[in-house]
């Protein structure tokens, strides 16, 4: 059996886990390539007009995988990975949406329900239905989950040591990590980039914003480098937090970054039509005002012009630098 993994949405967060999972079960996996304009076109053609860009891109990757010889495309229904919080409705309905919009997917869809209380999926309960889909025994699937979550914990430890997802992924695969050499610049800045993994690490949508910032002499921190515990702590001031797992992480991380004196400014990268971000963005604006820190929102979509991003990022770093190192 050959399973296709779309390189989109939570792929950037959970890929090491699923790779280890399928490897432990001796199932071959194929990952779709990096997002290209062609993939985006396919996605746009097969999804409803108003839906957010990440879902359109996901759709494109599914189409891409269906054109290969994979037996099934793996689209887990991510329901919950922590207590009382769920994913955005589009994640909950993702397999249904894909089944009925992408022609040819019916019958080649692997859609287990993921309902856990731990992010590492170590406490996954529903082995049997997934085992049945894969033609394995429940015990094998259970063991594979254990191996996978261990591997994923390693991945997370890399994050917490200050690596971003690309670097952690490379470190995990024991690949030569292109050592990042900061350009010689006395006036260094630290900028927090806040956004969902599928917007920042997809180089088509996010246009390599992290690399761009580094070239301008800024160190970049992201939410996955923070400890989950400290993020949750920051949210205790709220009587009620947002209902979505990752939005909460970003909100908590937002507090953390704004309160951290080392951080000079923050950029929120959001996709056109993102529902949770429409609320998160406004909350972050309020926090930014409270802390008196520079904050910028960059809204990305399926367009490919990079000039707007470069211009705004340059202007933002220039502004921060002038604020931090005033010229007398």
């Amino acid at each position: 059996m050959k399973v296709g993994l779309p390189r989109a949405l939570l792929f950037y967060y959970y890929d090491p886990l699923w790779q280890a999972f399928f490897h432990a079960l001796d199932i071959e996996t194929v990952t779709s390539g990096a997002t290209t304009p062609h993939i985006v076109d396919n996605g746009v053609r097969n999804s409803v007009a108003e839906i957010c860009v990440p879902i359109k891109i996901f759709c494109g990757h599914v189409v891409e995988l269906l054109a290969t010889d994979v037996d099934a495309v793996f689209i887990p229904r991510m329901i919950t990975v922590e207590e009382r919080k769920r994913f955005c409705p589009k994640f909950l309905g993702l397999p249904d949406m894909m089944r009925y919009t992408v022609p040819g997917l019916e019958g080649r869809l692997l859609d287990p329900d993921i309902q856990c209380r731990q992010e590492s999926l170590a406490d996954a309960q529903d082995y049997e239905s997934l085992a049945k889909m894969l033609g394995k025994s429940g015990r094998e699937v259970k063991r594979a989950f254990a191996v996978a979550s261990e591997q994923w914990e390693v991945f997370r430890r890399y994050h917490r040591s200050g690596m971003n997802i690309d670097e952690a992924m490379a470190a995990l695969n024991k690949k030569e990590n292109p050592v990042y050499e900061p350009p010689k610049n006395e006036k260094r800045l630290t900028i927090a980039v806040l956004g969902y993994v599928y917007n920042i690490y997809d180089s088509f949508v996010g246009m390599d914003i992290i690399k761009k910032l580094r070239l301008m002499g800024a160190d970049v921190v992201t939410f996955e480098m923070l400890d989950d515990g400290s993020v949750a702590e920051k949210l205790q001031r709220y009587s009620k937090t947002t209902p979505w797992t990752f939005t909460n992480k970003l909100l908590g991380a937002g507090y953390d970054f704004f309160e951290d004196p080392k951080i000079d400014g923050m950029i929120h990268v959001t996709a056109f039509g993102c529902g949770p971000d429409s609320m998160l963005g406004r909350l972050l604006e309020f926090i930014a005002v409270d802390h008196g820190k520079p904050f910028m929102t960059i809204r990305v979509d399926e367009h490919t012009g990079e000039a707007h991003l470069s211009t705004r990022v340059e202007a933002f770093t220039d502004m921060l630098r002038r604020k931090k190192f005033p010229v007398r």
Partner: protein, 370 residues
């Protein structure tokens, strides 16, 4: 305390409820262009349309002197559950000093639910509060029953606007109710008024009947859907609406486990298309679409606010449902843009299609000639 609440559904009943426990009510005004202008000015651009409508009505009510806002919460993963938190912050940033009473789900957060009712009822007894809730539920249910009938009859009215006027009179009558006995008597009077409105004779077999499903706010509120029901009635189309506050309350407050609501009976029809409840009304909407088709309705209009998270999933699945059933379904996204030509054109095209389908489906010869 001077309180206000969102303009949604039977506002009269909310007023009664709050007045009965000693609050002064600042009635929210039906949103107008001015409200939408205010709303879009102070709301985040990509937040959904109902949020913006509430934003506008809140500001107008606060300007009229309101000091507190009563609204619902919820922790489903639709944005609506988190509205109050964002409204609160935005209003505070605008300099309004306002208290929020957020009523949470009875079963998921019983303590919060009871706490907010206790805060609202103040010095009045629990017995009085419960009795008032029961009375208001009856009031809402009675008004919903009458509206349900108007939606059918309006397509056949002799003089345009008669039913709208009749409904206004009926609302005024209901405003004079103070207990459940009053509601029963007023409902009888209301039916009499309704039956006295002159209508054309019509053949039920030939009349077009269209179902409306969708997100609850834009489906219920005429100002949010550009009075789609009146537009349809003017074209001679009977309307069956899926969203009523009384149905919603019945589902949320259903205590007797052996009693099954209509929804629980038909929800299974949606499962093959959508496995899970996503936190809005998407499973219900799909179930209604299938149920309406089985009941012989001629088509369904699906309404949603622009970029509504749960309804976008429904919208994605609609082409398939339409194909499987052979039913005409049109999905309209609504926002603060007030141009009418788009909806008018799409409705006309949709009704032409549905009419063709009806003729073929029923094989009624008299229809073909029309």
């Amino acid at each position: 305390m001077k309180v206000t609440f969102p303009y949604m559904g039977p506002v009269l009943a909310y007023k009664k409820l709050l007045e009965a426990v000693g609050h002064e009510v600042i009635m929210p005004q039906k949103p107008t262009q001015g409200t939408f202008d205010l709303a879009t000015k102070y709301s985040p651009e990509f937040l959904c349309f109902p949020f913006k409508c509430l934003m506008g009505t809140y500001i107008e009510a606060l300007e009229a002197g309101a000091e507190a806002i009563v609204t619902t919460g919820g922790d489903d993963n639709c944005r609506a559950g988190f509205y109050a938190e964002v409204h609160r912050r935005i209003l505070a940033s605008l300099g309004y000093n306002v208290q929020f009473f957020v009523i949470e789900s009875l079963f998921k957060h019983p303590r919060d639910f009871i706490g907010s009712i206790r805060d609202l009822k103040g010095k009045y007894s629990w017995w009085h509060a419960l009795g008032t809730i029961h009375f208001c539920y009856d009031l809402i249910a009675a008004m919903d029953r009458i509206q349900e009938r108007i939606r059918i009859l309006r397509a056949h009215e002799k003089n345009k606007g008669d039913f709208t006027r009749a409904w206004r009179d009926i609302e005024e009558l209901f405003d004079t109710c103070y207990d459940r006995q009053d509601v029963r008597e007023t409902e009888k009077k209301a039916w009499k008024i309704l039956h006295s409105v002159p209508v054309e004779l019509w053949d039920p077999k030939q009349a077009m009947r269209i179902g409306i499903v969708g997100e609850i706010y834009v489906t219920m509120e005429g100002h949010a859907n550009q009075e789609i029901e009146e537009t349809l009635a003017a074209m001679g189309v009977e309307v069956v609406n899926s969203q009523y506050v009384s149905h919603w309350l019945k589902q949320r407050l259903q205590i007797l486990p052996w009693r099954k609501s209509h929804m629980e009976k038909i929800i299974a029809k949606a499962k093959p298309y959508l496995k899970l409840d996503l936190g809005g009304h998407e499973q219900e909407n799909i179930a209604h679409m299938i149920d309406y088709w089985e009941k012989g309705l001629d088509g369904v209009i699906h309404l949603m606010p622009f970029a509504c998270m749960p309804e976008l999933v429904t919208q994605s699945i609609i082409p398939r449902i339409s194909k499987d059933l052979g039913m005409p379904i049109v999905s309209l996204a609504l926002d603060e843009q007030r141009g009418t030509a788009n909806i008018q054109t799409r409705l006309e095209a949709f009704l032409d299609l549905a009419m063709g389908k009806k003729i073929r489906r029923a094989g009624v010869p008299g229809l073909a000639a029309r």
